[in-house]
Amino acid sequence: STQYVPPYTEECRSGMYPPRGPTFKGAVTWYTVDLDLPPSKRWTEVITDKKANLVSMIQAIKDLANSFVPSGKLIELVDRDLPLIVNTLPYPFNEEIKGIAQDSGVALGEVVLFNIFYEVFTV
């Protein structure tokens, strides 16, 4: 059947809802972000819960960058230069990004890179 040769096109699935089984990896937790709070404080609850996951995702991107540039120069550039860009980003996003770096302990340049990744990735 077509399912066993690329692109592994299946017959249209049915009865998949409510989500369960091997294609369902888990529900998604709800958080509240209070827009009345100062921007740098808005994401504290989320980041406090997800700090470890954020650190390991950033580390995976760093490992990838180091595999392209083993000297580590690419990471140095991110950590040294991207903080310069954060103050050119529109308010309140620049302040929210600073708050996330503060709450997570991740370098500011790396949080900036994560947040502009869409534009960077088109490279």
């Binding site: 399912q3 066993y4 690329p6 692109p7 592994y8 096109t9 299946e10 017959e11 249209c12 699935r13 049915s14 009865g15 998949m16 809802y17 989500p19 091997p22 294609t23 369902f24 990896k25 888990g26 529900a27 998604v28 937790t29 709800w30 958080y31 509240t32 972000v33 209070d34 827009l35 009345d36 994401w43 989320v46 980041i47 819960d49 997800k50 996951n53 954020l54 390991s56 995702m57 995976a60 991107i61 990838l64 595999s67 860009i85 980003l89 529109p90 996003f93 990004i97 996330i100 991740v106 949080v111 994560f114 947040n115 502009i116 869409y118 534009e119 960077v120 990735f121 088109t122 490279v123």
Partner: protein, 253 residues
């Protein structure tokens, strides 16, 4: 990514999306999965953005990312964005930004600003179509009245096309992956055809949150890059998301 807006026979609008990300960013051959995709899955969160203790909009986010890729302004509009590849890409926008030419907007800050401030489908559509961007993109927008659904194809500077629901042409859904809808998709990455086949097989009479989830669960619409599936129903202000896996055999993208 695969995003779709569909209208049922009663004029209800539904919006669904698979967020696929992490292509070519490290393959784990032991687990047959993409490294970045797998590290993104635990970061998926649903967020209720409030002001004066009232919901302004809701979104599905990656924790640590302040822009928006998937969101609903309850009872008003729903919005997702898909990546668009173009030689006139984001790196040019970033270079211009660094050189001080800062009249464009970062894509995910625009979607965040639209969800936070636009108060109608038309206003959202105008802002998404007319704001200069740093990178090209597809914006998939659903409204709260019959016929309000479209795919806005954006270059950095222009709105190249707005493809709308059209009852007269029996276009009861619009579906976008990562290719301009008037061109054939890249033959090695055709998720559009199987998705449309399943939508047509479902038929308008049966479209619902459940059947949209079925379409987004069918390989290769579901693939190794799929991090989450979000389902939205604007009339109920409802957003629900699920973290996904794609059991082997499964396309890498």
């Amino acid at each position: 990514c695969t995003s779709l807006v569909a209208e049922d026979a009663n004029g209800n609008l539904f919006h669904g999306r698979n967020l696929d990300f992490g292509l070519f960013m490290g393959w784990d051959s032991k687990n047959r999965s993409w490294i970045i995709t797998e590290t993104l899955k635990p970061l998926v969160v649903n967020v209720d953005f409030t002001r004066n203790n009232r919901t302004v909009f809701k979104s599905t986010n990656f924790a640590g990312y302040v822009g928006m890729l998937t969101g609903i302004r309850p009872h008003t509009f729903t919005l997702t964005m898909n990546e668009r590849f173009s030689l006139d890409g984001g790196y040019i926008g970033i270079l211009e930004w660094i050189l001080g030419k800062r009249d464009g907007m970062w894509m995910s800050f625009l979607t965040r600003s639209v969800l936070e401030n636009a108060t109608s489908y038309e206003e959202a559509k105008n802002r998404l179509a007319q704001t200069k961007l740093l990178a090209p993109a597809y914006f998939i927008l659903g409204g709260n009245q019959t016929g309000q659904g479209c795919v806005i194809t954006r270059s950095r500077v222009l709105s190249l096309d707005i493809w709308e629901l059209d009852r007269k042409q029996n276009r009861w859904y619009v579906l976008e992956t990562n290719y301009d809808h008037w061109k054939d998709p890249f033959f090695l990455d055709d998720r559009r055809t199987p998705a449309m086949k399943c939508m047509n097989q479902t038929m308008q009479a049966n479209i619902s949150i459940k059947t949209i989830y079925d379409v987004l669960s069918t390989k290769p619409v579901l693939n190794k890059l799929t991090t989450y599936t979000t389902l939205m129903e604007v009339s109920k202000g409802r957003l629900e998301s699920y973290i996904r896996d794609c059991p082997n055999p499964c396309m890498p993208w």
